[in-house]
């Protein structure tokens, strides 16, 4: 029984909580990685095939190859890959995040641990770190798969680490949202059902809201002279409904990171500027963590023992 887990024995209870929370959830993290790998392969293959088709057409119809055009198409591939694969991954991963958050609620083990270490913040942070590790490793797996497959199939390197970082931070945000459902709903089965339903609902709602907003802007294009005007023409109500799904921040971040924001390429304009995206992201983050912690605190009273 003397093995590695004991060898890296920790004195600090906060670190002990993090270590064991990660250990107990390691299979879920593994499942997430496997899922990320297969979805990554599927979508990378699809994106690379589309790129090759475009490239063949381009070189056969254009006498002088413009590297800028090719580069733009690579950017478009990166954008397509992430924006098509992430919603699907979200629908699969949302229930896993809910399970991670709810299982120790359902079996009362969070309460039990607090007999020995009455620190709610410690358990809550352990949970956040688990979700963070799961989200970050999954996205990293996707990124590696995409980079390798795309390079192997097309011969071009789609290397955009800034996009990878944006995907990680936004994906963690949506995992937090699913985790919040898990904390709020004690029964694991219910939290899974509700998180799947919730994921599908907000994906559909934001997609409808975004398209409604774009249609509205398209109809008023003749009155728009600047990118700022374009953004402010997008009705606020559709903006709010769009960003009720924090995953849409990824959509905006990618446009901002990959493309110059000019009226010449209207499809590449993000409906929020960079500061707006960051602010909204921080607001979402703050709200989710605050709400999650409040629910967690409410559900876990402390019985402090008077030391004698």
């Amino acid at each position: 029984m003397r093995e590695s887990i004991w060898v890296i024995r920790m004195k600090n209870k906060f670190l002990v909580n993090i270590k064991y929370t990660l250990l107990f959830q390691r299979y879920y993290i593994l499942i997430a990685l496997i899922l990320g790998f297969f979805i990554g392969i599927l979508y990378s293959y699809n994106t690379a095939v589309s790129f090759n088709r475009w490239y063949l057409y381009y070189i056969s119809t254009t006498p002088n190859i413009d590297p800028g055009v090719v580069n733009n198409q690579i950017k478009f591939s990166v954008y397509t890959f992430w924006w098509s694969s992430i919603p699907l991954i979200f629908i699969f991963i949302a229930p896993i995040a809910s399970i991670i958050a709810s299982q120790n609620e359902e079996n009362d083990m969070n309460h039990y641990i607090m007999i020995y270490y009455p620190s709610r913040i410690s358990l809550f942070i352990s949970l956040l770190i688990t979700l963070f590790v799961m989200g970050a490793s999954l996205i990293f797996m996707e990124w590696v798969v995409f980079t390798v497959v795309f390079n192997y199939m097309t011969g071009f390197l789609a290397w955009y680490p800034q996009v990878f970082l944006a995907v990680v931070v936004v994906f963690i945000l949506v995992l937090l949202l699913s985790g919040l459902i898990g904390i709020a709903i004690k029964k694991r089965a219910w939290s899974v059902i509700i998180s799947i339903f919730f994921a599908i609902f907000i994906m559909s709602l934001s997609s409808i809201a975004y398209n409604q907003g774009i249609n509205y802007v398209d109809n008023r294009l003749e009155y728009i002279d600047t990118v700022q005007e374009y953004r402010s023409t997008f009705p606020l109500i559709w903006k709010i409904l769009t960003f009720l799904n924090p995953l849409y921040l990824l959509h905006e971040f990618m446009k901002l990171l990959l493309y110059p924001q000019t009226l010449e390429k209207i499809n590449n304009i993000s409906i929020l500027d960079f500061n707006g995206c960051i602010l909204l992201y921080l607001l979402w983050y703050f709200l989710l963590i605050l709400l999650g912690y409040l629910i967690f605190t409410y559900k876990h009273p402390l019985r402090k023992v008077v030391r004698v």
Binding site: Y20, L23, F24, M109, I113, P301, R303, V305, V306, V308
Partner: protein, 281 residues
């Protein structure tokens, strides 16, 4: 020294819709080194009380003060564990409490779980799960243990085994608060029993100072014993254990023929407390 003080504890479930008052102002205390039993029918509020003491539930009103050198050891009625091996479950608690691996190993052996280290607790038998829960509760050498139905759902041999473990803990002078329906097992373990019903304490019984002595006799009852008559030819006297020989000697000196003298079991006391009213009706 009081290890546990419960002051006017109140708890109501579903306060807004069909409220159920689980605890209606419960107050009591437990002295260091004593073993106290908690008895009562289903729905009396026993588990709610224990869960509030260990912090699984929050009280609506009242106060719980636990004074101890180390955290409470808690054995749940239906023990739950992390979805990981026996070994990892125990190591987590051990590491949080700075318990040595040697102690952990010796307890696993002592409680007959050697060879089960890699098994997921849900795959263990109910008895093994209870033993694992006991190991987990005493791993950090607590001064105060709270046990919710430690004998429930066990076959007799397993229940006897658990009882022996608890007896051993009593010998180690640990303070324990044990809720159980098994009155037979509580009797040799407890110094005192608290009876609960409908969220209230309805009686207390001290094994040392309030022995219920039943005497079956023939003859005329002396005047000063008449108040203890409990049916024809039977006396029921609540007394100190040390007074028993004196009482018997006194009755014999007054020419009362004693056929039988026995200390009433907890079951009879339970019967008197909970079913006494029915008999009277």
């Amino acid at each position: 020294m009081k290890v546990l003080e419960v002051i006017n504890l109140r708890k109501t479930y579903s306060r807004w819709r069909h409220p159920v008052e689980a605890l209606k102002g419960v107050s009591f205390s437990i002295e260091k080194g004593t073993v106290v039993g908690l008895v009562g029918p289903n729905g009396a509020g026993k588990s709610t009380l224990l869960k509030i003491i260990v912090g699984f539930l929050k009280e609506d009103k009242g106060k719980v003060i636990v004074k101890s050198r180390r955290p409470i050891g808690y054995v749940q009625e239906n023990p739950t564990f992390f979805d990981a091996s026996v070994e990892l479950n125990l190591k987590y608690i051990a590491e949080l409490n700075d318990v040595s691996l040697d102690r952990l190993l010796s307890l696993i052996k002592e409680f007959g779980l050697g060879g089960k280290e890699k098994v997921i607790p849900s795959n263990l038998s109910k008895g093994q799960q209870k033993r694992l829960a006991l190991i987990r509760a005493i791993l950090h050498n607590p001064d105060f243990l709270v046990m919710d139905e430690p004998f429930s759902g066990l076959d007799p041999s397993m229940a006897i085994e658990i009882r022996k473990i608890i007896e051993r803990l009593k010998e180690e002078k640990r303070t324990m608060f044990i809720s159980s329906h098994n009155l037979l097992y509580l009797t040799p373990i407890c110094d005192r029993v608290i009876f609960m019903n409908f969220g209230e304490i309805v009686g207390e019984y001290y094994f040392k100072t309030s022995i219920a002595l039943r005497i079956i006799f023939q003859g005329e009852v002396p005047e000063n014993y008449k108040e203890y008559l409990d049916g024809k030819g039977e006396l029921l006297i609540e007394t100190d254990r040390e007074e028993i020989p004196k009482i018997i000697k006194d009755l014999v000196n007054r020419n009362v023929s004693i056929y039988e003298a026995k200390i009433e079991g907890l079951d009879r006391i339970y019967e008197r407390i909970y079913m006494g009213d029915k008999d009277e009706k």
